[in-house]
Symmetry: C2
Subunit: 377 residues, 2 copies
Amino acid sequence: MTGRHEPARIGDRVEDIDTPALLLDLDAFERNLQRMATYAASVPVRLRPHAKTHRSAAIAQAQIALGGVGQCCQKVGEAEALVRAGVRDVLVSNEVVDLRKLRRLAVLAKEATVSLCFDAAESVDAAGQAACEAGVEFGALVEIDLGMWRCGVAPGEAAAALAQRIDATAGLRFLGLQAYEGKAQHLQSHAERVDAIEAAADAVRASVAAIERAGLRCRVIGGGGTGTYRLEGGSSLWTELQCGSYVFMDGEYAALSDIDGRPYADFEQSLFVLSSVMSMAGAGHVVVDAGLKAYTLEKGFPTVHGRPDLRLVAASDEHGTLALLAPDARDTLALGSKLRLVPSHCDPTVNLYGSYVCVRDGRVEALWPIFERGASS
Amino acid sequence: MTGRHEPARIGDRVEDIDTPALLLDLDAFERNLQRMATYAASVPVRLRPHAKTHRSAAIAQAQIALGGVGQCCQKVGEAEALVRAGVRDVLVSNEVVDLRKLRRLAVLAKEATVSLCFDAAESVDAAGQAACEAGVEFGALVEIDLGMWRCGVAPGEAAAALAQRIDATAGLRFLGLQAYEGKAQHLQSHAERVDAIEAAADAVRASVAAIERAGLRCRVIGGGGTGTYRLEGGSSLWTELQCGSYVFMDGEYAALSDIDGRPYADFEQSLFVLSSVMSMAGAGHVVVDAGLKAYTLEKGFPTVHGRPDLRLVAASDEHGTLALLAPDARDTLALGSKLRLVPSHCDPTVNLYGSYVCVRDGRVEALWPIFERGASS
């Protein structure tokens, strides 16, 4: 948008950033990147981080520089942005059924390796048509339903039947399975997550066996997320991890507990919504300038980083109301005071911003644009 | 964003619009515009529609062409976009405490009448400074707290004290009160809304009286929303209505009941998220291509327009899962079938899109850009 106000300039102090702004703590972010890369290098599994979380060319490139084999995304528009950013191996970890969207993917497949997921024969046929028209080939995964009540065919024979259909379709190359156990990511205890991934592994094994009986081989089995990646990674079954949130963390992931019952701490919070106190006229509360257009609530209210004496208890479009939980909480605040909110769910929050304000040592070091902000097709 | 895919072209059939897309039914929208304009012309009150709902130059201009005295908005970025769009009277119906933001408003005040709200003496001083530096004048409203647990000073003497402070500040012109009773908008029964606005009116009267005792006069009393506008409009107290959602309606407003106990029907639904069925592989559900990045959930799930046999029951970033509530529901659908979702809360949903796809008689008639998409400062 012409004339749109930018929240900061490089070199600005954090306290001078205009709010609301999406803050990325570069030190924490880089530690997160490195930890996942170190893990992935320690197991026989490839890392293909999910771009739906970050929608950033800079972050995609950083993940690939540390060993990522490419990127996942959910939308054709994201795939277009990734290829424009120089990513040369993109998996749309999702179904694409519209022929015009498939033709857009075929354009990308002239420049990059492009794969996508299937759970219907009609989509296999349409994708084959789009690929053949453009003289390209798509990699193809059969998505299996792991009980998410979302996409995917039933594990086992149905998966094998669709794999055969793919194998028989010009323009498609059968690669294997998409096996993401999304509901397992946020099960609170480690034991619950282990059980869920063991059940998923059974479904994967049944599907691999049926596909092998049909004379095909699964070279790729994709899945895994920030809550379970060590389980898929150590399974000797999954071949690619599709984690996204690990770069940022959020309130939902922070609520998990680890194998020893302690808070999950594989990664640290690097992403914040920077807000300013805009009203102190009320008696028991203060108001910040970040509301429903600055974070989303489907996983609960953001928390206030480092401030157990403040709790976000209400939000309207452009207001967030903080309850004061300690007698002296008000005395520590003034109009304009900056507070860091921790989003409960990172992906849809990032979706509301045009750029990351990247900070280190109290200063703005970079502004990284966010692509495909908002609803993406 | 360079290269971003547009959801439609003018002249396209509705069934050819790429999804997810934000659909505006122009006939319903124009009837809504006209109904509110007709009402406002029938009472001694001005209409100053709220741009936070629509963030559209075209809609602002249509509202003003039908008699609106200008626009409200919540953010400085919105005010900038409105003035760029030619709106010459803008009220920021919100507190602005940062001197740099106030200076941005002062730039606008060279081209347009700019007013804003106050609930703190420090902000009065800062706004006066910004106005004097630029050689402009801001209109100034004292926001009173009507029990929303948000901004505003206590009604009565505190309001009068702040009015006097404004009156004594060079660069500011005291106009009156901001008296928006937000929590009343969604009280389900008409009787509850009447009670709430009567209580608000008492607070307004007490404030007006205290301000008159201090020797000042309230020429403007702003407030009102889509759920209560006839109450403020008929009060002989409020002078400006700040309704926003009436142009679109949403699930939350549709849940109200009217004075006779029937569903609230002053306005009709004109705004939809157009989605496509992307998976039918599951047994009891289908999946559409619109999830948490295509609508927000803080007021509940969207409903499916005209389809009582389908219910949105789960959403992830890019998936919406619809339960099939009738035995033959599945038979009426195919991969690619278009479904219109009715957002539960219009403002944060609009916030996710780059344009309205405006349709009439089954065809795309216009694409109206949306300004300040996402978090705005």
